[in-house]
Amino acid sequence: MIEIFGFSHELWWEWTGIDYVLNPHKRIFWLFILSSFVIAFLYVLYKKENYNNYFNKSFWFHPSAQLDYQYFILISIIKSLVVFPLMLSVTDTAFYVVQLLNEFLGYHLPFNLNRNAIIFLYTLTLFIIGDFTRYWLHRWFHSSDLLWQFHKVHHSAEVLTPFTFYRVHPIENFLFGLRYALTTGIVTGIFIYCFGARLQVMDVLGVNLFIFLSLILGANLRHSPIYLRYPELVEKWFISPAQHQYHHTPEGARKNYSGVLALWDRLFGSLHVSEEKKLKTFGLLMNENQSNGLSNNNEPSSQSDFNESESYKKLTDLLFKPFNNSFNMMIEKVKL
């Protein structure tokens, strides 16, 4: 292992964000960026649009985009030093689930099922349950007054770039990590209890096959200016980039919470299929009389709305404002 200033090169890669480009487990892995770029290229070609509309300095160096880039480095360091060490381990969760099942249901030899069937079932279950819990946690970030203060960091982006995906408050990172550890740990524990060691994830480059497919098929376009729509029938099953972009508009923030499967939005009444007209405004808008950041409603009510995204202009705003807002909010609630 190479060490630089006493730290392993792996840590340096993590802190500087290089790991994110070279690691297939990351959204901005070079192959996923490349595939998104190819899809975007074909989209512009098909739509007969001008490439300058998308590949121009005013977009990629918009103040909001610049903040995304800076924040990406900062959050990489915070995640590596603070969030990951605190994270619940998937191994521990899975292990305790197996122990619990052995204790309450009794030990048994693994069920005899075709190996390929087990692997397919495990991979699919991980993906579906993972996407389901992701939907509900995301929705909770919108419906809870307290959590919304932290999720606003992500929604404060006024232009969407692939780096906006990482514009997430560490508290949100932690909760999403916890969700992952619990979901994956519980599913894995149950599968190990039932099928023992005959378990494996169907993967491409070490990534769950279904997640890999969703990533290579343009997941990065969800946070991009490319308004890629799917046919309506498809959008009822899979969330298109256009649908997620709608979620980033002030009026659509309570729609399309799903990660990959639109099924959850459809089942729980939050689906919005995309429309022909392009989206213009991303970010936070708030009614003037709610401009103190204490709103529990992120939907604008009039044209005279105050643009709250303006309050998230600096790295310190992204990191500390949520704490400040939630503290004020709780004080207000106590007063009431």
Binding site: V21, L22, N23, P24, H25, K26, R27, F29, W30, L34, Y51, N52, F55, K79, F84, M87, L88, S89, V90, T91, A94, F95, V98, E103, Y107, L109, P110, R115, G130, R134, H138, F141, H151, H154, F165, Y166, V168, E172, N173, F176, G177, Y180, A181, T184, G185, T188, I192, G196, A197, R198, L199, Q200, V201, L205, G206, I211, L215, R222, H244, G259
Partner: protein
Amino acid sequence: MKWSQLINRFKKGIIYLPLLLVISFPVYSQNINQEMVLQSIIKNILIKDSHHTVVQAQKLEQFLEELNHQTDNEHLVRVQKQFVVLLQSWKKVEALYMAGNINSDMLDVPRYIDVFHSGNENIEKQLNRSLNSDKKIDVLLFKNSTKSINALEYLLFASVNKEQLLDSMKNKNKHRVKMAQYINKVLTQHFLEIEQFYKNDNQFVPNGIKSIEDLVNVLIDSSYKLLTWRVAEPAGLAEKYKGKVSKSRLEYHWSEASFLAIESILHSYKDTFNSEAFMELGDLGMSQGVSDEINSIQKNIENAIIKNQLVIKLMKDQSMPLSQVLISSEYRQLHKSLIRLHNSFYILLIEALGLTSKIIEADGD
């Protein structure tokens, strides 16, 4: 932006692609040498141990024949010692019994050999009845349980004292010795069947990852039985018999060889994970990035072997009776070490799945 400019940018990008591929390759590359490990395991463990068991059973056959000719204390002791050697050899075969996974026809063979913890048959009663009967031995011992290694143990050890046992062996034209000879012959056939199966097998190695998975399943199953059946239950440490100590729940309580059997089982784990002589699962795990878990297993196996030796020492050096051994602090430590060992097999299995938390899922949306 013009088309030509855009295409030029693409070309530049393509130049960097191979570089990116080379840099990112180590992130997901794997250097697996399953075939060599599986070949080594079948040759150095499965075939070797099963062959050793056949040899020991044949040796016992010879000693039993001598006992039949000369039924005295000297020959009885020799037979008893050889029985324990056979038992230890068989435990190694049983602990890593893969034949049933490779071919379902071989699934039941261990149950014909060893009836510990299976069924509710009282073999002592059946054997005592057979000892008093004048019928032919193969008619008397028609049940598999009465032809098991446990039945053989009963015939070679169960008695108030050695004199009575020798008297019993001399009775009725040495009926007891002849029954033991018959059982040992049946057992030898089973051991031969297992040895031949491994020698002729052409599936274990080609099955690759499936064989590795089966091996881990067998280890988890074996370590569970070792912990719960062989150690926790006799001392009342398992839920089923909580607080109720009984030496009759030990696997080989007549011969008092239970802890030697446990030692053999632990040595079969050691062969599978930490052999200096040949390639095994430990080497494979190390090459696949689960070295921490492999180290932990190796450490836990060593620790369990040491704790078990302390228990054996109690019996040998201090001549402590079994009922006392089961409530000793040394026994509790052995139990704890086996819990850790069993858990470390599960941890290895989970870690091998590579479910790291540092992945996209930790980010929002």
